[in-house]
């Protein structure tokens, strides 16, 4: 036990004191935030371009629907021929000209609407114009047919089906979105963590082999102690890095917002603008409340405990395999042939998680995959927010632990033989033979 803590300490300290680790830890969030800021700034710059659009509405019924916004000014023309208008717009360097020809037949009129501009106009602008025109023309047509628009507006109903289980648990669509977000986040975190730090473990095993210190160490400690020490030490370094990333990221984000006076999270992109137009402002507030309620409704205790257990179990399961690969080969380029069988179930888990859990969190496929140990950490974490019976969680966890013990035994065997083998790249057949040594 004393040996294990010594190894963990060394592994942790060498990782944390490593220059590239320090640089990565500090630079990554800075680069991420900087990138985010640049993208946000650029799209805002694009969006901020003020444009003037002239409207030649010969019918005189429609131009009133175009109201100036911060970036777009609408300029209504009248008593001017189309050709003159085009020339005038071009001369003034305006963004474009919307032409609505007068026609008694609204169908004909809607077909004759044209937009003239020098360059191809922005897609978002056109669709926003289209949706406004559609709405107005529909209203006009309804009026022509003698329908009272006020009544239609008054009778418009919005439906949000309240869902309730037989046991009285209330859920809603928003609940599901929040659950998916939670599950997806947990599954994705695990996936990233395994790939980044599993590789780090593998490299550190290979390093011990190439520097040939392994035999000195192995004459002092048991291989399994060395392997576990490596896994735990590297994981602790990983957790340190993650925590620093989160703290630094939040810090930088707030500094950025303060200095530049922009709130990144509220920065508007054209897409968001459109979405907001779709949703009525009263609804937004309502939805925010729903989201909060949904978060509050999540089985938090279950989620946290399950997250910890499945995260640790899944991570240890995979990282012991990474350690075994490191022990089996001499250098990093030889690892490729062994990486695929490890990555396959991991990637499968993420895809199954994303596609089947959204469709039906308790369907056959997602249920089965949440039991298979190599996929269960990811899939089960995605399912749990939707409420998974405790027995299923326990069975999946027991299966995971049993498999973990088996893989550690298996990996330790490979490790014990592999670390003293030099020279040739082993085949799967040879690895199998090592198990019997």
């Amino acid at each position: 036990m004393n040996h294990l803590s010594l190894i963990i300490k060394r592994e942790y300290l060498t990782k944390v004191k490593n220059k590239s680790f320090i640089v990565m830890t500090i630079l990554s969030p800075i680069i991420m935030i900087a990138l985010f800021a640049v993208v946000a700034y650029l799209s805002q710059l694009n969006n901020n371009k003020e444009r003037t659009i002239s409207i030649l509405d010969e019918s005189g019924q429609i131009s009133s629907i175009f109201k100036n916004t911060e970036n777009t000014t609408y300029n209504s023309l009248s008593n001017i021929s189309l050709n003159d208008a085009k020339a005038q717009v071009e001369e003034k360097g305006e963004y474009g000209l919307l032409h609505i020809a007068n026609n008694e037949d609204l169908d004909e009129m809607s077909k004759s609407i044209r937009f003239y501009s020098e360059d191809t106009p922005s897609l978002t602008l056109i669709s926003s114009l289209e949706s406004k025109l559609e709405k107005k023309l529909t209203d006009l047509k309804l009026q022509q047919g003698g329908v009272d628009i006020e009544k239609i507006a008054a009778s418009r109903t919005s439906i949000d089906i309240a869902q309730e289980s037989y046991l009285g648990e209330k859920t809603s669509k928003i609940d599901n979105v929040v659950k998916l977000a939670f599950g997806g986040f947990a599954g994705y975190m695990l996936f990233m963590f395994i790939i980044i730090y599993g590789n780090m473990i593998m490299r550190s095993v290979i390093e011990e082999k190439t520097s040939r210190i392994i035999e000195v160490i192995i004459s002092s400690v048991k291989p399994i102690q060395l392997m576990m020490g490596k896994i735990i030490g590297t994981s602790l370094a990983g957790i340190t890095q993650f925590v620093i990333w989160i703290i630094l990221g939040t810090l930088l984000m707030s500094i950025f917002s303060l200095v530049f006076g922009v709130n990144l999270t509220e920065m508007q992109t054209p897409q968001q603008e459109m979405m907001q137009q779709a949703v009525q402002s009263a609804d937004v507030q309502n939805q925010m409340q729903n989201v909060m309620a949904a978060i509050y409704n999540l089985p938090i205790t279950n989620l946290v405990i399950a997250f910890l257990l499945f995260f640790i179990g899944g991570y240890l399961l995979y990282s012991s395999l990474y350690a075994a690969i490191g022990a089996a080969v001499d250098n990093e380029t030889d690892t490729q042939q062994f990486m695929l069988p490890i990555l396959m179930p991991l990637i499968l888990a993420v895809y199954v998680g994303i596609f089947t859990v959204i469709e039906d969190p308790h369907g056959t496929v997602s249920t089965v995959f949440s039991f298979i140990p190599f996929t269960s950490p990811v899939v089960m974490l995605m399912r749990i927010p939707f409420g998974v019976p405790l027995w299923q969680q326990i069975v999946a966890l027991l299966l995971l632990i049993a498999t973990f013990i088996f893989t550690v035994w298996f990996a330790a065997k490979i490790y014990r033989v592999g670390i003293l083998m030099y020279g040739k790249k082993p085949s799967y057949k040879e690895l199998f033979k090592w198990l019997k040594y």
Partner: protein, 308 residues
């Protein structure tokens, strides 16, 4: 004399390959024990079994009369042939870490380390990284790592490879010094001159089997042929040679000397002694060279391996 380490019919297979076949050796306390054998004979496997790196399929290893236990690693110091250190770790830190893995307290390790660093005059390396040192320098550190925890059993696998003659001598003297202080040394090498110089006991392993072991002196005695190398000064060499050939089995010898002597190898029968030969020779000529031909470790090695 007590045996510090005994292996009793140790066997080990790797798949179909038999690496060790019923190998029994006994290493007397306070001795320097040479573990010899051609490449691939199984020496390293035996050493790894003693270090509990691999487990034997059958047979037992006794340290101080008791079966080997996991805690016994702290009594063993092992310098493997394939050796190395963490390249990017500082010398001091690294040695302290490895010493603590051997069960030493940090304070003890520090004290011992200072002693060794002064002794080998490498004190100013403390904060250097291994990758900044030359190969020979790193080897010195490795030697310190092996002996730092004052093990009662030291195992050296080719300890002199990578050292220049001066440093090799330094290390050799340290090994002898450690032996004098009571440590027992197992010494595996191909360099027969160092076996001759250092070892008092040897075991020879060939093709997974132990084919010879014992005290080096006893082995040499059993391998000697009662042959003497003589240099004689005489007027007429042919006449003298004829005289000797009538009484003894003679062949021409080849050794360097200052004089133009008659150089002969003379083999005695088991009933004759060196005095018989000497008195016979002095009656016929002036003897200026007289030396018993004792087989070297190298001769014994080659001869035994060939015969098996």
């Amino acid at each position: 004399m007590n045996n510090l380490l005994v292996t009793d019919s140790v066997s080990k297979n790797f798949g179909d390959f038999k690496a060790l076949n019923n190998v029994s050796i006994a290493v007397p306390e306070g001795s320097i024990f040479g573990l010899l054998g051609p490449n691939g004979a199984g020496k390293t496997t035996l050493i790894r079994i003693i270090n509990q790196i691999t487990m034997p399929d059958s047979g037992t290893v006794l340290l101080d009369g008791k079966p080997l236990h996991a805690n016994d690693i702290q009594y063993i110091g092992y310098l493997p042939e394939e050796r190395g250190l963490y390249k990017s770790m500082k010398v001091g830190e690294q040695v302290l870490y490895l010493a603590q893995l051997k069960g030493m307290s940090k304070a003890d390790a520090k004290k011992r380390l200072k002693y060794w660093f002064e002794k080998l005059e490498i004190g100013d390396w403390w904060n250097k990284k291994i990758q900044e040192l030359s190969k020979g320098m790193a080897q010195k550190i490795q030697f310190v790592v092996t002996v730092l925890h004052q093990p009662k059993l030291l195992i050296f696998d080719e300890p002199f490879s990578g050292f220049d003659p001066i440093n090799a001598n330094l290390i050799k003297d340290e090994i002898l010094h450690l032996r004098d202080e009571g440590a027992t040394v197992i010494f595996s090498t191909h360099r027969m001159e160092s076996v001759e110089e250092l070892c008092d006991h040897i075991a020879l392993i060939h093709k997974s089997n132990k084919i010879l072991d014992g005290k080096l002196q006893d082995i040499k005695r059993s391998y000697k042929t009662n042959t003497f190398e003589v240099g004689l000064v005489t007027e007429n060499e042919d006449v003298l040679r004829n005289v000797i050939e009538q009484k003894f089995e003679v062949s021409t010898a080849d050794f360097k000397s200052l004089n133009d002597d008659l150089k002969l190898n003379i083999k005695l029968k088991s009933t004759e002694t060196s005095n018989d030969l000497l008195s016979f020779l002095t009656q016929n000529a002036e003897v200026n060279h007289f030396n018993e031909l004792v087989p070297s470790a190298s001769d014994i090695f080659i001869q035994t391996v060939k015969n098996n």
